[in-house]
C-alpha cells in the first residue's frame, strides 16, 4: 500500500507548483475586476485612501450603493445599455449571416477570382479604422434612406443619428470572413458533393450542412464581433448626436467632469462589464475550440 500511494502523492506534489502558478495568474487577471467591483461600493476618498493596501480589494469601510444611485442620476444608463445590446446583437446576427455566406462562396464554390477577392478582403485588415473614419462620416451623411412619412414613401438623405449608422457599416467584416473561411476549409468537401448529388442547392448546402457544423466558428465570430461593437466609442461619438441613441462607452465620458467621480466610474464600469463577461462565460468553450482549430491567436 505504501509503495502504491507514494507515486500518487508524488504526482500530486509535482502538480502543486503548476496549480499555484495558475492561481497566481488567475488572481493577476482577476484583480482589476475585483478592484473595480469593490471600489464601486466605496466613496471617492476612501478609494484613494485604500490604494496601496489589501483594503483596496476588500469591501471594508463606508460601503454603500450610493455610487450606483449616482450613476442613474448622472447618466441614462439603462437606455445606453439597451442601445448597446440592440446595436451589438443586431450587428452580430447580421454579421454571422453575411460573413459566413461570403466565406462560404469563397471557400466552397469554384468561380474565377475568388482567391484574389479573398486576398483583397484580408488586405483590408491592415487599414486602421481611424484612417477612414472621417471620410466615412461624410459618406454616411450622404447616403439615402427610404422611410414612411405618414402615408408617403420618402427618400431622406443622411444616416446620422440613427441605429443603422451604428450597425450597417460594421456588418461586413474581413476578419469574420477569414475566420469562417478557415473553419469551412476544415469541413470535408465530400459533404457538399453528396448533398448536391442529392439535389440540394448551394444555399441548402450552406444552411443544412455547413452552418450546423460550424458552431465554434459562429461562437467565435459572435464574440469577436460583439466585443468591438460593445466597446465602440469613436464612431458613435462622430455620428450620433441624439442622447437617446448613444451606446454605453460614450456614457463613461459623462463622469469625467472637473470633479471626477471615481466611485461612480467604477459602478458604471461594473454595470457595462457584466454583460461582456456573461457572454464570454457562456461561449468560452466554443470560443476556445474555434480559436484552437483555426490557428488564429487573439
Amino acid at each position: 500500500m505504501a509503495t502504491a500511494s507514494n507515486p500518487t502523492r508524488g504526482t500530486g506534489l509535482r502538480r502543486v507548483p503548476g496549480v499555484l502558478l495558475r492561481i497566481v495568474l488567475a488572481l493577476f487577471f482577476a484583480f482589476p475586476i475585483v478592484f473595480m467591483l469593490i471600489s464601486s461600493f466605496k466613496p471617492d476618498q476612501q478609494i484613494f485612501k485604500d490604494l496601496g493596501s489589501i483594503r483596496a480589494f476588500l469591501p471594508v469601510g463606508h460601503v454603500s450603493l450610493a455610487n450606483y444611485r449616482g450613476v442613474f442620476d448622472r447618466v441614462p444608463a439603462m437606455r445606453f445599455l439597451m442601445n448597446s445590446i440592440v446595436i451589438s446583437a443586431v450587428t452580430v446576427a447580421l454579421g454571422i449571416v453575411v460573413n459566413s455566406m461570403a466565406a462560404f462562396a469563397l471557400s466552397r464554390m469554384r468561380w474565377p477570382g475568388r482567391r484574389l477577392l479573398l486576398t483583397l478582403i484580408i488586405a483590408t485588415l491592415i487599414v486602421p479604422f481611424e484612417t477612414f473614419a472621417l471620410p466615412m462620416v461624410w459618406w454616411v451623411n450622404k447616403l439615402p434612406w427610404l422611410q414612411f412619412d405618414g402615408s408617403h414613401l420618402v427618400i431622406t438623405e443622411g444616416w446620422l443619428d440613427t441605429y443603422r449608422v451604428q450597425i450597417l457599416p460594421f456588418v461586413a467584416n474581413a476578419f469574420s470572413v477569414f475566420l469562417f473561411h478557415q473553419y469551412f476549409q476544415s469541413i470535408p468537401k465530400e459533404l457538399d458533393e453528396a448533398a448536391l448529388m442529392d439535389g440540394a442547392s448551394w444555399f441548402g448546402v450552406y444552411r443544412r450542412i455547413i452552418m450546423p457544423l460550424s458552431g465554434p466558428a459562429v461562437a467565435t465570430v459572435a464574440i469577436l464581433t460583439f466585443l468591438p461593437m460593445w466597446n465602440s466609442y469613436l464612431w458613435p461619438l462622430m455620428v450620433v448626436q441624439d442622447e437617446h441613441l448613444r451606446p454605453v462607452m460614450i456614457g463613461i465620458q459623462y463622469f469625467f467632469q472637473l470633479n471626477v467621480s471615481w466611485g461612480q466610474i467604477m459602478a458604471y464600469s461594473t454595470m457595462i462589464t457584466v454583460p461582456v463577461l456573461a457572454l464570454f462565460l457562456a461561449f468560452q468553450r466554443a470560443f476556445i475550440n474555434s480559436i484552437a482549430s483555426s490557428g488564429v491567436k487573439g
Binding site: 476618498q45 447616403l143 443622411g158 448626436q241
Partner: protein
C-alpha cells in the same frame, strides 16, 4: 450557374444604380445651413453628466421657449471629454447646431475655421462691458462668444501645516516670490511628513497642461507665442525666461518636491494628506472647504518675477456660422444674458460669476467673502491663452514639451524644438491670415 451569375450581376448593377439615383435625389433635397428646422433651433452643450450646470441650461431654454412663441430651442447634451470631437465631426458633415458652447481657448480656432459666426449682443440685459474680460471670446476685433463664468487657478494648503513649518501665508497683495516658494517646499520636504510636498496634477492630460503651467511660464517672463503679431514663438518660448521656467519646473521633480506623474485624483490625495500644497482650480474650493473647514488656506499663485499669473477663459456660448436661423439663435443668446442666469451658472458650477452684479448675489463671492479671492485673481492675474487659430496646435506642443522637460529632457533643446514646430505650423497655415 451561368444564368445565376448573370442574374446576380444584373441584380448588383440594379442595386448600385438605384443607390446612385437615390443618392442623387437625396442630394438635391438637401438644404442650405444647419442647426434649425424652421424656427426650431438646436443647441449643443458640453454638460451631459454635469447635472448642476445642465439644469441651468435647461432652465434658460425652458424660460425662453415659454416667453415667446416664435422660436423653440431644443437641447442636445454631450459629455465634455468628447464634445470637441463631436463638434469637429459635425462641422465636417455640415451638421452643426445653431447655438453651441465652446471652451474659451478654442474660440479663435473655431471662428477662423468657419464654425462660429460673430454675434450681435446689443440690447441684452447684461452689457458685455460688465463682464470679466476673460469671459468674452473675440477674434480679429469681433465678438464670437460670451461666458457666464470663469474659473481661477489657485493653491490650496492647510493653515496648520504652513504654521507648523513657520511658512508665511501669502495674500493677493503679497504673494510668495519664487525664493519663498522654493524655501517653503524645501522646509516641507525636510520635515519628512510628505513624500511630495507639492501636488500640481502632473498626471493630467490635454488642455490642463497649458492651462496650469503656461501661466507659470508667463510669470517667469516667457509665453507660448509672441503675441505682438502671432507669427513666431521664437524668444517667447525658448528665450532665457522660458529656459529658467523649464529648469525650475524640472527641479521640482529632481528635488523630490513633486511627483513626475501625480495620481488619478490629485485633490483626493491632497485631502487625504498626501501633499501639503496643491496647485488646483477654484472648482475644488467648496469640496476642500467642506472637508478642511477653517484650516483650508486658499493661496494666490506665486510671483516668479513678472507677477502672479493664471489662465483665463472658460466655457462660452456662441452661434454657428452655418446656422440656418441666425435671428432665432441671436434672440436666444440675448435672452440668456440676464443676471439671474449668471448667478445660477456660478452657483451650480461653483465658478466665478462673470459680472460684479452676479457676484454680489452669491454667498461667498461678495466682496470679502471666502471665495472673493477667486474673483480678485481672475480680475488681476488672468491671462487669456493666445488668441490665435493656432492655439490648439500650440497647446498640444506645449503639453508634450512640458512633459519631456519634466521627464528630464534638455530644457533648451526641448523648447527650441517646440518653437520650431509652432513656427512651422504658423508658416504652413500662412499665419492663419483671413
Amino acid at each position: 450557374m451561368r444564368s445565376n451569375t448573370r442574374r446576380l450581376a444584373a441584380a448588383s448593377l440594379a442595386a448600385v444604380t438605384a443607390t446612385a439615383l437615390l443618392t442623387a435625389c437625396g442630394a438635391t433635397s438637401s438644404g442650405q445651413g444647419s442647426g434649425a428646422d424652421g424656427n426650431t433651433i438646436t443647441l449643443w452643450t458640453h454638460n451631459a453628466g454635469n447635472a448642476g450646470e445642465y439644469k441651468v441650461v435647461q432652465q434658460i431654454v425652458k424660460d425662453f421657449n415659454a416667453g415667446q412663441s416664435t422660436y423653440k430651442v431644443k437641447i442636445q447634451a454631450f459629455p465634455q471629454q468628447s464634445y470637441n470631437d463631436s463638434v469637429v465631426a459635425a462641422a465636417s458633415a455640415k451638421k452643426l447646431p445653431c447655438i453651441l458652447d465652446s471652451d474659451g481657448p478654442n474660440v479663435p480656432n473655431w471662428a477662423w475655421g468657419g464654425y462660429l459666426a460673430p454675434v450681435d449682443l446689443s440690447g441684452s440685459q447684461v452689457p458685455l462691458s460688465d463682464q470679466l474680460p476673460s469671459t468674452v471670446g473675440t477674434y480679429q476685433g469681433k465678438t464670437y462668444t460670451f461666458g457666464y463664468y470663469d474659473v481661477a487657478l489657485t493653491m490650496f494648503a492647510r493653515k496648520s501645516v504652513l504654521q507648523a513649518n513657520s511658512i508665511r501665508i501669502p495674500t493677493i497683495g503679497k504673494p510668495w516670490t519664487k525664493d519663498e516658494f522654493d524655501a517653503a517646499l524645501a522646509k516641507l520636504k525636510a520635515g519628512g511628513k510628505f513624500t511630495y510636498p507639492l501636488e500640481m496634477g502632473t498626471g493630467g492630460a490635454g488642455e490642463w497642461w497649458p492651462y496650469a503651467y503656461s501661466p507659470q511660464l508667463q510669470s517667469f517672463g516667457g509665453d507660448l507665442v509672441d503675441r505682438s503679431q502671432y507669427k513666431t514663438a521664437d524668444k517667447a518660448m525658448n528665450g532665457p525666461a522660458a529656459v529658467a521656467w523649464g529648469t525650475w519646473f524640472r527641479s521640482l521633480v529632481t528635488n523630490g518636491y513633486m511627483a513626475q506623474k501625480s495620481g488619478a485624483s490629485p485633490n483626493n490625495d491632497f485631502l487625504n494628506g498626501k501633499s501639503a500644497i496643491e496647485w488646483d482650480g477654484s472648482w475644488d474650493a467648496a469640496t476642500n472647504s467642506a472637508k478642511l473647514g477653517s484650516d483650508l488656506a486658499v493661496l494666490p499663485p506665486v510671483d516668479f518675477g513678472k507677477g502672479p499669473k493664471i489662465g483665463g477663459a472658460s466655457w462660452q456660448w456662441g452661434m454657428s456660422a452655418t446656422c440656418s436661423n441666425k435671428a432665432g439663435a441671436q434672440a436666444y443668446l440675448k435672452f440668456s444674458r440676464q443676471t439671474k442666469y449668471f448667478v445660477d451658472f456660478a452657483k451650480a458650477a461653483g465658478t466665478i460669476p462673470a459680472t460684479a452684479d452676479a457676484a454680489a448675489q452669491i454667498p461667498g463671492y461678495q466682496p470679502g467673502g471666502p471665495y472673493d479671492v477667486f474673483s480678485q485673481e481672475a480680475r488681476k492675474f488672468a491671462v487669456v491663452r493666445p488668441v490665435t487659430p493656432a492655439y490648439p496646435f500650440i497647446s498640444s506642443v506645449f503639453e508634450k514639451t512640458a512633459k519631456d522637460i519634466l521627464a528630464g529632457a534638455d530644457v533648451q533643446k526641448s523648447l527650441d524644438q517646440a518653437v520650431q514646430q509652432i513656427n512651422s505650423n504658423l508658416k504652413t497655415n500662412r499665419y492663419y491670415a483671413g
